[in-house]
C-alpha cells in the first residue's frame, strides 16, 4: 500500500501534554556532548537570563516525536516504517524550551510527493505550551523507498 495522498493537509489530534524536565534536558545534553552549564544548572541558566535550565536546539525532536508518531503510525496513511529514512529536518524556535515548560504538539501533513520509486512525506509539527504560547515549529521529511 502506498502512502495515501488523501492525507495531504490533514491535521492530527494534539498530543498529551509533555512536561519538559531538567533531568531529561541534562540527559539529552550528555548524549550529544553539549557541555554548557545552562543545560544542567538552574542558577547558571537564570544568570544567563533564562527562566530555568534550557534545552539544546534539537531537543524539540524529543517533544515532537510523540505527536509525529500519531502520523507515521496512522494505519490509513500507509507508511511502511521498515522502508523509511529521515530525509530533512528543520526547527524554528520562538525561544528555547526550558525545564518546567508543559507543551502540546500537533502535526499536519504538509505534502506527499513522489520522485522515482521514492515518496517524501513532509509533516509540520507545532509545539505550544498548554497556555497557548508558540515555542517551536518543526518540519520533518521522511523518505520511503519503494519496493
Amino acid at each position: 500500500m502506498a502512502i495515501n495522498t488523501d492525507y495531504i493537509g490533514r491535521t492530527f489530534e494534539p498530543s498529551e501534554p509533555y512536561e519538559v524536565s531538567r533531568v531529561k534536558i541534562a540527559e539529552f545534553a550528555d548524549a550529544i556532548g553539549e557541555p554548557s552549564p545552562l543545560c544542567r544548572d538552574r542558577a547558571a541558566a537564570q544568570a544567563a537570563g533564562y527562566p530555568d535550565v534550557i534545552a539544546p536546539p534539537t531537543f524539540a525532536i524529543v517533544v515532537s516525536s510523540a505527536g509525529s508518531a500519531k502520523v507515521t503510525h496512522d494505519p490509513g496513511l500507509g507508511v511502511n516504517y521498515a522502508m523509511i529514512v529521515h530525509g530533512e529536518q528543520s526547527f524554528a524556535h520562538a525561544r528555547p524550551l526550558h525545564a518546567g515548560d508543559v507543551v502540546v504538539t500537533q502535526s499536519t501533513i504538509e505534502s506527499i510527493r513522489s520522485a522515482g520509486n521514492m515518496t517524501m512525506l513532509t509533516t509540520v509539527t507545532q509545539i505550544r505550551t498548554v497556555d497557548g504560547e508558540h515555542v517551536c515549529t518543526a518540519r520533518s521529511t521522511l523518505v520511503e523507498r519503494g519496493a
Binding site: 531529561k24 550529544i32 554548557s36 536546539p57 524529543v62 516525536s65 529521515h86 524554528a92
Partner: protein, 145 residues
C-alpha cells in the same frame, strides 16, 4: 574560539568568517545513549544484522544525532545553547558506525553566510564522515552577543 560560557560577538562575525572545524567521534555506545535520551529506538541504529538486512552497510547513526552535533558545534561557537533560532538540514548520507572503540568520525565546519537583524547571523554548516557529505543544505540562524 570562545569557551563554552563566553559569547561570540556579532560585530566580529563578518560574512565569510570560518568557524574553527571540529571532529566528533560517534561510537555504538553513543548511539545507545542517544536512543535512550531521544526515545528513538529504531533498530537500524543498534542492530547490525537488521541494518544489513535492509541494505545498509552497517549500523548507522540517527540523523538527528548528527544534526545535534552540528547544533552543538554552533552553540559552542556562539557561547549559548539557546542561541539558535532556526536550523535546518538535509540528511544526505548516513554516518556508518562500526563496532569498535573508535566508531565514526564526524567532521563539522561552518561559515558565516550573512548578517541579519537582531544580532543574528546565518551560518552554513558542513558535516562529513568517512569521505561522505552527511548533511547538506545545512543552515542555521544564530543569535550572537
Amino acid at each position: 574560539m570562545p569557551s563554552p560560557t563566553q559569547r561570540q560577538s556579532y560585530d566580529q562575525a563578518e560574512p565569510g568568517t570560518e568557524l574553527a572545524p571540529r571532529q566528533y567521534q560517534v561510537t555504538r555506545r553513543d548511539l545507545v545513549r542517544y536512543a535512550g535520551a531521544s526515545g528513538d529506538f529504531n533498530v537500524i541504529h543498534w542492530n547490525e544484522r537488521v541494518a544489513k538486512s535492509v541494505g545498509l552497510p552497517n549500523v548507522i547513526a540517527h540523523g538527528m544525532l548528527t544534526m545535534a552535533l552540528a547544533g552543538r558545534f554552533l552553540t559552542e561557537w556562539a557561547g549559548d545553547p539557546g542561541a539558535i533560532t532556526e536550523f535546518g538540514v538535509r540528511f544526505s548520507a548516513p554516518v556508518v558506525v562500526p563496532d569498535d572503540d573508535k566508531g565514526a568520525t564526524v567532521e563539522i565546519g561552518g561559515t558565516v553566510a550573512e548578517r541579519l537583524d537582531g544580532n543574528q547571523v546565518a551560518v552554513d554548516v558542513t558535516a562529513r564522515s568517512d569521505g561522505a557529505k552527511v548533511l547538506s543544505r545545512a543552515r542555521a540562524v544564530v543569535r550572537l552577543a
